[in-house]
Homo-oligomer: 195 residues x 2
């Protein structure tokens, strides 16, 4: 199985001193269970849904094929809701349209999962992100892509909040990424790929 | 510092149950030394110099900028020398021209290092790969890119040869990738980025 993880800095694992992030951690765990996983990390810092829309298909196409059981996990959204020069980097309706287009095209080609975005320290941005994630979840429901919310659990996690506060206000360190990895590994969507 | 590692399955770390490969291992070590490294792994299985020439600039451009101290490490060559339908996948002169073009363009934009390719079990392919790597080394010398040979050392490494033999004849497991990581970490080219 060859898996492309497509998204932003949280997919890249920015801040993790072990250079795995949650994506690498769940692939290591899958390999320990005996699954032969090729791990392609396509998370890019600062990227919005518009940036991802512009590159994901080309990057995935040279890495995956149906012959080698290619699959995609998406996770993005936080950078869309960042304020720059008095407005969000991406308009709310555009973010929704970008996500819909990305997910619809992806779903026609490969099995797809979507993992939501985590909370940051900025409560106002968090409110905007939660609104956007609800729309992403609805899109996934409509086109039959399993979606995992991680925001609610992490917002109550002392480990997550403390690591984010101690680092840069956005990204955790090893333990925080392990928390996301645990959520994904206990999720039926991910588990269905490993049976 | 943000580093793109561009190449083939050996850059991807295929076969490593720890999902780090040599590229992840040297970035983990750099982080432990206190360097703030963003790790972008752009290794793709089966890719030749022609495949890499077609995608590297676009993939690197959305990940690196001069504002964030972007750097590139290339490593490829083995797939060029694989025989398919009675000839190598890429003609010898074309491999050389691809490498020259990739490295020249990269060097104009970012600091660049090149790491050679490792040996496989196939001795005839190894001979072809060694010939090609000598040319790559010459190109690097001409355009002033530090080049590290790893082939000769690994060919004498029991750990490397045993892991490759036990796995798929081409890729090692964790200990083999750690051997490459050790060679790179002890190399003045890499060390010059961490001082």
């Amino acid at each position: 199985m060859r898996i492309c993880f497509v998204g932003d800095s949280f997919v890249n694992g920015t801040g993790d001193p072990e250079c795995l992030g949650w994506t690498g951690r769940i692939c290591v765990a899958a390999q320990k269970q005996g699954y032969d996983v090729t791990y392609y990390n396509l998370g890019v810092r600062r990227e919005t849904s518009a940036d991802i829309k512009a590159r994901w298909l080309q990057e995935v196409s040279c890495r995956l094929s149906k012959d080698y059981d290619g699959r995609i996990v998406f996770s993005f959204g936080t950078n869309d809701t960042t304020i720059e020069t008095d407005k969000t980097r991406i308009k709310f309706v555009e973010s929704i349209e970008n996500a819909r287009q990305i997910l619809q095209v992806a779903k026609q080609r490969f099995p797809v999962l979507m993992v939501g975005a985590p909370p940051m320290l900025d409560t106002e941005q968090n409110s905007r992100t939660v609104c956007l994630l609800k729309q992403f979840e609805q899109i996934c429901l409509t086109i039959d892509i399993p979606y995992l919310d991680i925001f609610a659990t992490l917002q109550k996690s002392d480990t997550w909040l403390q690591e984010v506060a101690d680092y840069d206000g956005a990204h955790p360190r090893a333990a925080g990424y392990q928390e996301i990895a645990n959520l994904v590994q206990n999720w039926s969507g991910w588990q269905s790929w490993l049976t």
